[in-house]
Symmetry: C2
Subunit: 190 residues, 2 copies
């Protein structure tokens, strides 16, 4: 049988990402993966090696897609507007399999097991924090945020609040868009 | 065999809470529970009925203990000081099995499955939000927070930020006490 083309592989990784994102690592069985990918065990192992290897590919795709969306928005809207709009955009993304951050969910689920995927997810979160710090720096350079603030501290708090917001957005009875609006407003006071 | 005394049962529920809190619902097997409770399958079923029934008891114990700590602090320190100190206390609680909120973890893990425990955890979070709103109302009554703010909106944002903080506290490379300090500072500006 010929190898599947790369395009196909990306589609499969997206599908795996969505089920891992929704159901977590322990909550996604090999049978679930074989069903959602429409693959037999032999083809699955030939294509991806293991559930953990596929989970890591899914995490990396998730993080890269998020980074691309953020940087594209920054190019179109500028750093300050991006930081203000991003909380709302991230909980209103209709294409997302879940509201909560997949990287945060993975750290939460797997850190107690000292699983390597928790470390990988945390490293990707640190990269995201560094991108937020770059945007805060750019917003200071453009005069939208006062120069006295430490951009790393702003990014740390912003990412923590975003993680909370995205979990709030998965909850029934919580007005998450209002929280997103308050996060945006708090940037106006910086 | 005589029934175990109630004290013993509370200790068992605490042990189950800790392993569920750390490893989650799917990540905790019946074998794990039997090992940590030192019970055989027959005794386990006689005492608790099922893994789900024990998980619900553990959630309720977790929520009741948290509520008691908060209300005791409020009695000692007053509402405003409690709201300012609580973020730091909650991530520095040495007796806690994990830093992240067990209720938030449960919603995250089980909502996609439409599992009844996710609904139960969300209801307990809504009760916690109402307690925070009461404290914000009391802090307004004592003049520590301006009367113009909606205490429900303040509580909603506060709880969301706390959920983010507590996940940040489980991450390597993140200065969570600094985030807790910034949450407390932001209350001074209200």
């Amino acid at each position: 049988m010929p190898r599947r083309p790369a395009y196909d592989r990306d589609v499969l990784i997206d599908r795996a990402r969505d089920i891992f994102w929704q159901q977590g690592w322990a909550g996604t069985s090999l049978k679930d993966l074989e069903a959602v990918l429409n693959m037999k065990p032999g083809s699955f192992y030939a294509a991806f090696g293991s559930k953990d290897a596929l989970f890591e590919l899914a995490l990396e795709k998730y993080a890269a897609d998020g980074a691309n969306r953020l940087l594209q928005l920054a190019e179109e809207q500028g750093a300050f507007e991006t930081l203000k709009q991003y909380p709302r955009l991230v909980i209103e993304n209709g294409a997302a399999a879940a509201k909560a951050c997949m990287l945060a969910k993975t750290v939460l689920e797997l850190r107690a097991r000292e699983h390597a995927l928790a470390e990988r997810a945390n490293a990707l979160l640190l990269e995201a924090e560094a991108r937020f710090a770059d945007l805060f720096r750019a917003a200071q350079a453009s005069g939208d945020i006062q120069a006295g603030h430490d951009p790393k501290a702003l990014a740390r708090r912003y990412q923590s609040d975003l993680i909370g917001l995205r979990i709030s957005a998965e909850r029934d009875g919580v007005d998450a868009p209002a929280i997103a609006g308050e996060i945006a407003q708090s940037l106006d006071r910086l």
